[in-house]
Symmetry: C2
Subunit: 203 residues, 2 copies
Amino acid sequence: MKRMTPDQRRAAIVAAALDVAVRKGLASTTVRDVAAEMGTSSGLIHHYFDSMDDVLAAAFERVALQDLELSARPMAEALTAVEALAVFFRTYTPADKDWAFQLWLDAWAEAARRPALQATSRRLNLEWQGLLERTIRRGVADGSFTCTDPSAAAWRILSILDGLALQVVAHGTTVTRDRVVAWSTGYAEVELRLAPGSLTSRF
Amino acid sequence: MKRMTPDQRRAAIVAAALDVAVRKGLASTTVRDVAAEMGTSSGLIHHYFDSMDDVLAAAFERVALQDLELSARPMAEALTAVEALAVFFRTYTPADKDWAFQLWLDAWAEAARRPALQATSRRLNLEWQGLLERTIRRGVADGSFTCTDPSAAAWRILSILDGLALQVVAHGTTVTRDRVVAWSTGYAEVELRLAPGSLTSRF
DNA sequence: TCCGTTGTTGGACGTGTGCGCAATATCGTC
DNA sequence: GACGATATTGCGCACACGTCCAACAACGGA
């Protein structure tokens, strides 16, 4: 295959691994799959990564980090804390992103057995919680939210969202997607003492 | 190995598969592992199960069903709905049961790829939600809870619990176990209009 | 005691696994 | 245009995988 600079090649490997992982799941993405996806030999992957665990961790980090920024950027640009939170819910639960959440499920389950993947998953989960916590603090500061423990509130909101989304992605129809959004925004309104509908009606 | 009746043997296979799954994870439990655990040949497993998917689904069902009954029975015996709910939280989050929750994580992640496992996981998740919903209805009926949508409330409580427990099991210390219990019971008290501490102080 | 039923064996089959390494191809530099 | 550095190949190694099946052995009924 055409020769690339190390940086380009690393990126290409990560991108290929991601494509395969979306199709087959993180756990059953193999060296040969990734090589075939790139159209190169399998030996090349081990020239850039020490182990398959590292490749998968890098691939997972790529989507997770990108999604985080896809939420964080518009949230930072929102004029009010309430709007930022509304943006959070809209960008966290898009219907066409089930495959990304399936990767989270894979990462959580595999974390017990793959150290690099666990570290990445853990770090990014903390980032999401931090993003939410900062938004809550912003709202508390400007008086639009009432919350005595923003850290705990962030964990609770994130958890209810993950727990509900999990049902949609893993089981299909035990819970419908509409209800994930309605129930979790409704919960956030209660948690932060907002008027019902504050997070949805305005958009 | 000693000859067994079909029922005994099926049970032995499921038990062996479970032991291995706890040790190695559902996804990487193999026919040979299970056979070695029983001290028999691997061919025997396929004499009783059509595929490995079926074995894993049966193994997962065994723990999940047993844990469900371990909660359901004492909850049914509770004198009040409040006490039944307190029992629910105490039996759902025991410290020595992380391995069982790891199996749930495995099942949710693998569900996308293993039909039998998905069906089992889905069915048992619905059972848990149903158990919780019935308890809520019981409390609404006798006036101790206030809740307009017991089904939704049950899903929300279950989801926050799963979302938080997931952090403990997958990431170790992003959230501590104490907080899982405190935050989820605290949330249930708000959701059902109970006085703070109702679910914990009395025991 | 014999015999048929069936629980159980042990290995074959084809494919897949992560990883490592000598050989080769393609660059930028002189 | 030649050369050294290194990106890339292609295959080998030693296992592990699920599934299948002919042969064997233990049991209950006759």
